[in-house]
């Protein structure tokens, strides 16, 4: 397993283990986490996004996930981020993602393609961009609390 592949898998596992603080640390300071609404969306200025957050704002999202008073995570979700079909080209990883989420007596699923863009820094490999293109980004969704 390459270290790129290992990072992609670890990123998914940290979400499932609700280790959100450590998850955030995988992102470089200038990183962006993005879930566009449209397939092939070239920029966040072209159309709406389900999430478009630089790391500094993602830090607020993670802060909220770590605090107790978040209604939409009371009770918390259990998730499995199933990552497969990983293709690596230098510092880019493309993969297929299925997220199963169970919360409050109900299950649901998300599916999409993921692009990880990485860089090598003094501290090792870091995520510069995680982009999740959902199969149904334009469809109605109930509240999404755990990052995909």
């Amino acid at each position: 397993m390459t270290d790129v592949e290992a990072l992609v898998l670890r990123e998914a596992r940290l979400l499932d283990e609700r280790r959100f603080g450590e998850w955030l640390e995988l992102f470089a300071d200038d990183a962006v986490y993005w879930i566009p609404t449209k397939p092939d969306q070239a920029s966040p200025h072209e159309a709406l996004s389900i999430i478009y957050e630089p790391k500094s704002l993602l830090a607020v999202r993670v802060e909220r996930l770590q605090r107790g008073e978040m209604h939409v995570q009371t009770p918390p979700s259990r998730t499995v981020h199933h990552v497969s079909a990983i293709e690596i080209s230098d510092l880019e990883a493309r993969s297929a993602l299925i997220v199963a989420e169970w919360r409050n007596g109900e299950s649901r699923w998300f599916a999409g393609r993921v692009l990880h863009r990485l860089k090598r820094g003094p501290g090792g490999l870091q995520i510069v961009l995680k982009r999740v293109d959902l199969t149904d980004g334009e469809a109605p969704h109930r509240a999404i609390a755990v990052p995909l």
Binding site: A47, I51, P54, L57, E63, E138, A143
Partner: protein, 426 residues
Amino acid sequence: MIDNLLRGDAVHRAAYIDPAVFALEQERIFRRVWLYVGHESEVPAAGDYLLTRLGPDEVILTRREDGGLSLLHNRCAHRGARVVSEPAGNTRQLRCPYHAWSYRLDGSLIGVPLADGYANAKELRGLAAVPRVESYRGFVFASHAATGPALADFLGGLKSAFDNLLDRAPAGRITRFGGSLRLEYRGNWKMFMENAVDLVHPGFVHRSSVEAARAHPEAERGDSVTQQGAQMFLANGMRAQQWDDVPLHAFPGGHVYMGGFYRQGVIAPQREDPVFERYRKALVERHGEEKAAAVLAVDRFNNLIWPTISVNARFGAMRIVRPLAADHTVVDVVCFRLEGAPEEMHELTLQFVNLAASPASLVASDDLEIFERCQRGLADGANEWIDMRRGVLTDRRQADGSVVSSGTSELPVRHQFAAWKSWMRA
């Protein structure tokens, strides 16, 4: 039935949970009132069409050759197949994929195959047209009912929301852009409309995002998206006294607006940064100093046009509530480009909607959770009545028939139910 559901300043829980009440709402409200179907900028050229919804029905909004608009049921007059399946496009005629019945953009029948074999082919009908379609300054509304109040009268005191949105465009035009975000919750449609102007809930429901933003003071000095997010989250952290100072203004017909409450940074109603200065200058060129100042001074947050629209003119955003069942609602969120304004203003609009109205929003996700909790809770009949008296002593009736109240009042709930009752009874 309806009289039994409202008692003074309380409403029976059946209004939210009973499928029979929902069916009656469909018949008496959604098949009669004016509902928003789209914006003229979505069908600018002859032959353009847009698939949209009018209450429970799927309809096609078309721009005819003569420049007028038609709204047609998306159901072939022959065997009932959906005629259009693309969300939007341009065409000279609408043709059913099943047996190729073809229609003009006004829905009239062009022809059917094997017409010679009919004894009376001339009597075959075209696509059913929605009886009333009307545009208010580019916002297209329609009604399933052939008669009823005129659109301008129906919008009444909240025409001002659309006027202000248009007036904010230096070129005098706005264009729908950016696609849409869509929210869904297992709860009644009325909850969304009530919550959008409930100014006590932010202190409790949105506490998690307020506290998270407070824990990251550096975010307020971050990049533009982070700054905007932090400022929006922090704004919900006002004290009850400050919320009280945000005016609520209710108009006949169930419409309500709330005053603005964004005070600081990139979300403030008037700013001094170079982008806003360029924008202000463009606006002055259009309107002159005095009117431009008046347009920018209109500081409102949600403008609710009962029963299903919420307009935020300052951020060029609009939410359209789509009731699907007593306990199932979808909300479409769309936005508009203020033509003639700096591009950065449109980025602010997209970010506002992403941050405030996405299903993954740190703000909206907690609202959706609360709607679902209410719906589940109301299934329990331990208490049949829902109180809506909060702030009733602060209601002040104005000479024009509207009512003004302190921000923490439940005036909007009382007011929306008064409109609900008048449509449901008749």
